[in-house]
């Protein structure tokens, strides 16, 4: 039998492969949202250059808001993608875990006094401690899933329920405030740089995960384990450990996202911080075209998916949708996006595309 057909012209070949590529889905969603905004109000895309309240030059506009606030989501989507791939389930405790790790950051920075004049510890120490704590909680989830074989959603329900209380308990239910301006740079702007810092942090995370995926077998192993764990075990892999480690990595992502979140406020609100972010993170993975039952994944599609979700949220805010009604609107849009990206619909679309080019209806070989 022949292998591939090289007689197709390059253009249709490109579109054909694009149809098959996962990243096609979030790209289409992004385009649709952009077109919608362009029609409704082109000023959505206006980016202005001005001074903020501290007198530093910053870029502002809806696009910058998306880059800014989409960053935590993008960072979480990295970990959530790995968890989904390896364990075939999702972690719904990331919002509560963010509350915990954010609370830890404040606790370390403020010590016993909730409103100190000076920082009680260097910021980097606070960040590292929160990383360790978040990874421990990730390890807790991972142990339940990998070694006790509890369904991921059920296992993480525990921390989902208890997390915010734990977060409050860490600071004796007080609301510490950090007055040091340097701390607010991480969730705001570094003086002199007009682009929001969270975006830089997200980019750093993306570069790190890209390097990890390139220079280790994390991608291959977690996909193999997620698709067929019995078979991967017979190939020398340790499926339970791969699942476990994916939750620990997500813990690290949670710590980074939590750090940004508390830096934005220089304080914390235990019940509101990162509320419902787990759903957005899971949606980002889904919107990236990744199967939520595990297996093959595309990291770039998930990350783009995260920004598309933020794009959607920002669009809705701009339409002056009330914050209580936001989720309802979001749900509708998400339904549409998910239906469009469903394999069934994509197949129909690509068939439609084929019909438009009848000479290809026969497909495949010469």
């Amino acid at each position: 039998m022949k292998t591939q057909n090289h007689t197709l012209n390059k253009g249709t070949d490109f579109i054909k492969t694009l149809f098959k590529k996962q990243i096609f889905i979030p790209i289409v969603a992004l385009l649709l949202l952009s077109i919608f905004n362009l029609i409704v109000d082109p000023s959505f895309f206006k980016v202005t250059y001005g001074l903020n309240s501290n007198g530093d030059p910053v870029l502002s506009g809806y696009l910058m808001t998306i880059l800014d606030y989409g960053s935590e989501l993008a960072i979480l989507a990295i970990g959530m993608t790995l968890v989904t791939a390896a364990s075939g389930g999702q972690d719904i405790s990331v919002g509560a875990a963010i509350a915990i790790s954010g609370s830890v950051v404040l606790r370390v920075l403020c010590g016993t006094d909730s409103r100190p004049e000076t920082l009680q510890a260097p910021i980097i120490v606070a960040f590292l401690v929160s990383c360790v704590v978040a990874m421990l909680f990730g390890a807790f989830n991972g142990t339940l899933v990998a070694y006790f074989k509890i369904q991921p959603m059920v296992a993480t329900l525990i921390l989902f329920t208890a997390g915010r209380s734990i977060a409050a308990w860490i600071n004796n239910n007080e609301l510490p405030i950090v007055s040091d301006p340097v701390f607010s740079y991480f969730g705001g702007f570094i003086p002199g740089l007009p682009i929001p810092t969270p975006f830089f942090i997200a980019v750093v995370c993306m570069i790190i995960i890209a390097l990890v995926l390139k220079f280790t077998n994390l991608g291959l192993y977690s996909q193999a384990v997620g698709i067929n764990s019995k078979s991967s075990q017979l190939n020398g892999l340790n499926p339970a450990f791969m699942k476990f480690i994916s939750f620990v990595i997500l813990g690290l992502c949670v710590a980074v996202a939590g750090f940004i979140k508390v830096s934005r406020l220089s304080s914390i609100n235990y019940s509101v911080i990162a509320k419902d972010i787990e759903m957005d993170a899971i949606l980002a993975v889904a919107l990236g075209g990744n199967s939520l039952s595990g297996g093959k994944f595309s990291m770039s599609a998930s990350i783009l998916g995260a920004y598309v979700i933020q794009f959607l949220t920002t669009t809705l805010y701009k339409m002056e949708v009330q914050s209580e009604a936001l989720s309802a609107y979001k749900a509708v849009v998400v339904i549409i996006l998910v239906v469009i990206s469903a394999p069934v619909v994509r197949e129909k679309l690509s068939k439609l595309f084929k019909k438009l080019r009848p000479q290809q209806a026969v497909g495949g070989e010469d």
């Binding site: 039998m1 280790t216 077998n217 067929n228 078979s231 075990q233």
Partner: protein
């Protein structure tokens, strides 16, 4: 349509990306006949069945059914069911945790309320009339696989079925169970049901079928009456070549001279795993091919799994080249130069959604380590090399392995282990569910690898296949080894005797 014809498929075409799965295939089924559909893997049998049952839509062609003027359009398995076409697949598709009666009638009862008494009575009558030895109140999972298969058939037949398709129903049955299944098939035939029988087993075709339709490479080779087509002819029609190959391999005399001075490549003493086998001793020398034989469930697969560390090891000593080592996980075995092709290709072998390339490099990659991934170029080179070497039919190395035919999937798994360049390779049923051509390829490959110094353990349900390849056989019964045969003793009779317990070695 001619008189007496139940089903006619004309000029069927079906394309998949990169593959012409069916080209101008005709298929005719007469009333009350058992019609075998034969062909190598990838010949188009499954595709034809799936077109007929509405799983795939055909690209062109027509399907006619008795009693209907026009060609019918079957869009889904439900459509096929309504038209009286039922299918029973190789894997049981019933619910094991329900009772036999529930399985027979689930989804078919009318109304909200169900009178279970009547259902059980109906089930009893149905099972009786077909002579199926099952109690309606029995939980399905407690029945043997053969009875489960029969229940599936009974369910299919009871739904006013005119055409019954049996897709490799016998692959997981032993001879006794096959005989029972055949009795049921003859019973149905007598009742006027037309049966399409897809199988790899030649003997079974000659035992039970009336007609044979042979496909090859997606094309129709022809339709023959069983009486007019000798076995050799059938094989050569399926392969599209003469049978010299078959006899070639048979005449190879298997003599293995062990060098007693060199310690065995692998040696196990009182090895026992959590799978329920009795402790066993085993050894294999450089360049030797040996095998485990025994009936289904005799523990032959459990033995090799223990050697590879796939089940929890409870005790015993293992030596590699005379040096004592500890093998408690597959990775330990792999690092000691052992490869293992598992019995259940779908559940234990392939990683379905991953590409052919990733499936090929997986074991070597794991052996190499987490922090040392192969570059794309290396991976491609490996994949291309083995796709060519083993003649794997795939659109490209990027194709997900699950879209390949069974034989080609098996070749990919074989490639995976050959790539790790093992000293000792275990092949558990490498030829199950595979076409004759690939079977011979694999047998030849085994002998070639052994002549190059690889030690191989070869397990197969087909005794003649083991006689062709192995120079020593370990016979198993009831989860323990009951004998070892080599040299002159290696005959079909002797093996049977030992398995049955009448041999000299017991």
């Amino acid at each position: 349509m001619q008189e007496g014809t139940v089903l006619e498929m004309r000029n069927i075409y079906k394309y998949f990306p990169g593959v012409k799965a069916l080209q101008d295939v005709d298929f005719t089924l007469c009333e009350g006949e058992i019609h075998a559909l034969m062909g190598e893997n990838g010949a188009g049998k499954s595709t034809l069945i799936k077109v007929l049952t509405g799983v795939y839509s055909k690209d062109s062609g027509e399907v006619f059914l008795k009693g209907r003027e026009k060609a019918v359009n079957i869009k889904s398995p439900q459509d096929a069911q309504k038209l009286g076409i039922s299918t029973v697949y190789q894997e049981i598709t019933l619910c094991p945790n329900l009772t036999v009666a529930e399985n027979l009638y689930i989804g078919r009862t009318k109304g909200i309320f169900i009178n279970w008494k009547i259902v059980v009575r109906d089930a009893f009558n149905l099972l009786q009339s077909l002579g199926i030895p099952a109690d309606p109140n029995q939980q399905l999972s407690s029945c043997s696989i053969a009875v489960q298969q029969m229940v599936a058939i009974a369910r299919a037949v009871d739904m006013e079925c005119k055409v019954l398709i049996l897709d490799e129903p016998t692959s997981s049955l032993d001879d006794h169970e096959v005989a029972k299944l055949f009795a049921l098939m003859r019973e149905l035939k007598a009742k006027g049901v037309s049966i399409v029988f897809v199988t790899h087993f030649l003997e079974q075709v000659y035992e039970v079928c009336d007609k044979i339709t042979v496909l090859r490479d997606g094309k129709l080779v022809g339709e023959y009456s069983v009486k007019e087509l000798p076995r050799v002819q059938l094989v050569s029609k399926m392969l599209g070549k003469d049978l010299d190959d078959l006899s070639d391999i048979k005449s190879d005399s298997l003599k293995y001279e062990a060098d007693e001075n060199i310690p065995p490549v692998f040696e196990a003493e009182k090895l026992v795993s959590a799978s329920g086998i009795k402790p066993f001793d085993f050894s294999i020398r450089k360049g030797e091919v040996n095998g485990f034989t025994g009936l289904l469930g005799s523990g032959r697969s459990e033995c090799v799994r223990a050697i590879f560390g796939a089940d929890k090891i409870l005790g015993g000593k293992v030596k590699i080249n005379g040096r004592e080592v500890k093998i408690s996980k597959p990775i330990d075995a792999m690092k000691n130069g052992i490869g293992y092709l598992p019995e259940d290709r779908k559940a234990d072998g392939i990683i379905g959604d991953l590409s052919v390339r990733e499936n090929i490099i997986l074991a070597l990659q794991v052996k190499k380590g987490f922090f040392k991934p192969f570059t794309k170029a290396q991976a491609n080179a490996f994949a291309d090399e083995y796709i060519k070497l083993l003649g794997i039919k795939t659109a490209s190395a990027d194709t997900p392995i699950k879209s390949l035919s069974g034989g080609n999937q098996q070749k990919v798994i074989l490639a995976r282990w050959l790539l790790t360049n093992p000293e000792y390779l275990i092949l558990d049923e490498p030829t199950r569910g595979i076409d004759v051509g690939t079977k011979i390829d694999i047998q030849k490959l085994v002998l070639k690898l052994a002549s190059e110094g690889m030690s191989i353990t070869f397990i197969s349900s087909e005794i003649d296949e083991m006689l062709r390849t192995c120079s020593r056989l370990i016979v198993m019964r009831d989860r323990k080894t009951v004998g070892e045969l080599d040299g002159e003793d290696l005959t079909q009779n002797m093996i049977m005797n030992t398995i049955a317990g009448g041999g000299n070695n017991v």
